[in-house]
Amino acid sequence: MHNPENAESPRGATDLTRREFLIAGTATVALTGCMGLGTKSATEMKPQQAAATRVSFHVNGKPCQLELDNRTTLLDALRERLHLTGSKKGCDQGQCGACTVMVGDRRVVSCLTLAVMHEGSLITTIEGLGTPEHLHPMQTAFVKHDGYQCGYCTPGQICSAVAMLREIKAGMPSHVTSDLTAQPKLTADELRERMSGNICRCGAYSNIAEAITEIAGRTA
């Protein structure tokens, strides 16, 4: 969690207690958004013409236009170009879920998709879910239930959990759904199975499950 994101927060990271620091991390302070982007950095690191492509998408409601080296993953575009460092790089191989963001209302791992494949996409990162003043209910629940230790997996867990509850509502089955044609319910088994794409190295699983269960009960 020694991320430059806090350096841009109204109070410097140094003013925060560890506890407040983690809470801020849950909401991952969104300040720069997409403003003033693309212009300076694009000229600074102008990629080889043939290997670069222009792409426009919305991130957290704001339109962004970037010219990107084709190799840039969505995760790297968010973190390195848009400075939205809430989404984390854990494995860069689709195995940990730390980079989970939403494209439309679907959760995806942003490390295994190219930014240039997202022309016109509506992308939501942890910074767009809530703000420190107005946390998303799932963020509040993670804070309340202590759904983290180091906090590294947390933005991915929260994005994943919010989208996962929508998937259940939409009736999407999972590996542990017993009747394929019935509306699935959020049992403990369903929750664990559906969240298996988000690994927590600190093993905060039981608290994460409690946080999600609380919100599921509220939105069901």
Binding site: T73, G94, V109, M117, T181
Partner: protein, 319 residues
């Protein structure tokens, strides 16, 4: 990752034609397998053709009472489709047994069929691998081979095909539809899509350069009990050690295909006549000629036991 040029294709014909213009091109769909391999420089395309804008994300009923699944239908949407859940349960079950919620939202029907092996030597560019670098040898033969194939293998390669979805499609007799750069279309029975390794493990399918998968059709539903049983090292988000896709009819006849044991979904139609005689007799026929390694010989017993459990489940027994 090596640099590459990028284009967004607008129609299937455009995509196939673009591939013919760039000899080193690859299609990219979900990207979940291709990008992983590009980061490791196991795949090094000079040009990528984004096929996400081709309008191939529909699932439609066919005149014959079956289903046509567009090549770009996401694994999550296919698993959740009402007709698939009702009439092709084995496919829905196989899909939700694979990968994670996030990956299933990205992975496409065509990309899933064409995903490459998870052999750890294939993934490690410091190791010999005939599939990755023809002629370099096979690290798995005589090495760590617990997850590898036990049948359909060769002296050059013992890798498995990792897909769950493809195993269910094999048991459903799916047909893969393609379009070529010259505009011609063809239909390939799923049984013929993947090749056995022989001396050329780097050739994995019968697809020609630039041939684009446009969709997969399923014949009309055959009824019966649909079961997909996957055994893996952890209970979620892991590839199969062994998986069994089965459709069993009330009279005990049925169809069975296996995942995790061969370079392609493994099904032997002639063996299915033995199904009513039980798991032991049937499995002996299904796996006749198997060539396991000492590390993965356990898969033979495991197949028999899973088949026994699947047959019991089909009869309605509690398992």
């Amino acid at each position: 990752m090596r640099p590459f040029t990028f284009e967004r294709a607008k129609t299937p014909a455009d995509a196939a034609a673009a591939a013919a213009r760039h000899p080193d091109a690859k299609f990219i769909a979900g990207g979940t397998n291709l990008l992983d391999l590009m980061k490791l420089q196991i795949e090094t395309p000079a040009h990528l053709i984004d096929v996400n804008g081709l309008g191939l994300e529909k699932i439609e009923a066919t005149q014959e009472g079956g289903l046509r699944i567009g090549a770009l239908v996401r694994n999550a949407d296919l698993a959740a489709h009402h007709r698939v859940r009702r009439d092709y349960g084995v496919l829905s079950r196989a899909l939700v047994a694979g990968a994670s919620g996030q990956l299933r939202n990205m992975a496409t029907t065509a990309g899933n069929l064409l995903q490459r092996t998870r052999c750890p030597y294939f993934y490690d560019t410091n190791q010999p691998c005939n599939k990755r670098l023809p002629g370099s040898g096979c690290g798995a033969i005589g090495g760590f081979s617990r997850p590898h194939a036990v049948i359909g293998v060769s002296d050059a390669c013992i890798a498995t095909h990792p897909s769950d979805m493809a195993v269910a499609m094999r048991v459903l007799d799916a047909t893969v539809e393609t379009i070529n750069p010259d505009g011609s279309a063809r239909k390939i029975p799923i049984a013929k899509l993947h090749c056995l390794p022989g001396d050329t493990p780097h050739i994995e399918t019968v697809l020609m350069p630039g041939e684009l998968i446009t969709g997969v059709t399923l014949p009309k539903p055959v009824g019966g009990k649909h079961i997909y049983h996957k055994v893996r090292d952890r209970s979620s988000f892991a590839f199969a050690l062994v998986s069994v896709a089965a459709i069993v009819q009330p009279d005990g006849t049925g169809r069975v295909a296996l995942g995790g044991v061969a370079p392609k979904p493994w099904r032997v139609e002639e063996a299915e006549a033995e199904l009513p005689r039980g798991a032991k007799v049937f499995t002996a026929r299904l796996l006749a000629g198997a060539r396991p390694t000492p590390e993965n010989a356990f898969k033979l017993r495991l197949v028999e036991r899973i088949v026994a459990s699947v047959l019991a489940e089909a009869k309605g027994a509690q398992v």
